[in-house]
Symmetry: C2
Subunit: 236 residues, 2 copies
């Protein structure tokens, strides 16, 4: 298995993924929201790029979630805090989600053979699923507006760590992946504190959302793999 | 001091560096060669992009060095192994150097307020010089043909490690720099072995150039800071 890690959506070249599994990572907070929503019984999450598209797709019973500039979108049911999705009654419902970075990365990765949404919360389950699928793997760090984000890089490193610990033979990892793995190993004993030092960590802290960072820094809380079927992420 | 780290030359936006110090890193092997040549008494190293330019600039007494595809260029005095520059008599001479990645990164960084060439071999000296200069800092990982290279990322992390250990107050480091620092800390106890696992490490090993990797993986061997004056890197 060849594993490549992309530092941001800017590195994505479309139509290069048709035969590969793509894992999209947006720890703070889009993919953490997806995992949490599926863990609390929602039927699926539909990631879309624009607010207009979200409103257009909405059918009776659907819920709208997402953010612009880390804030709630007027008229939407939820913001982009995974904690909101723990509390509300989302059982059996579809959530249409639009965020600044994570949903964009997913849109660009749609040609993939399989597309998985990973976060710290479900890294082990995603790594195992990707190995089961058996294709070459591209891990996309969604980042922030075309820039690399520390938390996504560390999650890529965690995914590689989980894959390595499965004892899969003949894994080849590119230089960026090897470096993310080393960074994750170094940070793993104090993941929460390291995430606080990142640009997004500092921004969320200023907005009073420290609890979101703490929640998103916890590894392997859920055995849930959000996988794209058609236009909706469902449980694999 | 703001420290930004760029993952490859592709991330370089020209004319953004006029007021900043740029540190260019190409551990395997262009900047390791520059440091070694200056440490062994050469007058200066002139980095150029093309073979033609190197031949055009050559005056009596000058030496030509460099590589294409890791190999010696026909008619040149030296290849791109730092070990060659240890042995030969280069005292007082100018070396005109052209390589695939490192010299290109330097050409793109020429608008900088000051431009320094760093490697593992002289990281501490470069970090101290950069802090003395006192400007915001951009560390460019030259990489390989627009792709990130592990060894350059770890060297960026080492530079940040040295700067942090100087106790400079009010340092702000971007997410990519924080991640490279974590990766360096993790790899620091077995730098040579980790460099062997990188794409360039594997390539050089296949070419029988393991000694080059070993040599380039040794940190802080020289108190030499190659700095650009006009078109030539000289000792700072």
């Amino acid at each position: 298995v060849q594993i490549n890690v992309l530092s941001s959506t800017r590195d994505m070249v479309q139509n290069q993924y048709a035969h590969k599994t793509v894992i999209v990572v947006d720890v703070l907070r889009a993919t953490s929201v997806m995992v949490t929503a599926l863990a609390h019984g929602c039927r699926g999450v539909i990631p879309v790029e624009s607010i207009r598209e979200a409103e257009h797709l909405k059918q009776p019973g659907d819920l709208l979630g997402g953010e612009r500039g880390c804030r709630l979108i007027p008229g939407f049911d939820f913001g982009n805090s995974p904690l909101e999705y723990q509390k509300a009654d989302i059982h059996g419902k579809r959530i249409i989600q639009t965020t600044t970075n994570g949903t964009r990365a997913i849109q660009k990765a749609i040609p993939a053979y399989q597309l998985i949404a990973a976060s710290m919360l479900n890294a082990f389950a995603c790594a195992r699923a990707a190995i089961e699928i058996g294709r070459d793997l591209v891990i996309v760090c969604s980042g922030t507006e075309d820039h690399f984000s520390l938390e996504d890089g560390l999650c890529a490193g965690l995914l590689i760590d989980e894959i390595q610990s499965m004892g899969v033979s003949e894994i080849a990892i590119d230089d960026f992946g090897l470096t993310m793995h080393a960074a994750y190993r170094q940070a793993s004993h104090q993941l929460e504190q390291v995430l606080m030092t990142s640009a997004n960590g500092i921004k969320l802290t200023k907005l009073g959302l420290v609890d979101d960072i703490r929640y998103c820094a916890a590894i392997n809380q859920f055995e849930i793999v959000p996988i794209l079927c058609g236009n909706m992420l469902v449980r694999f």
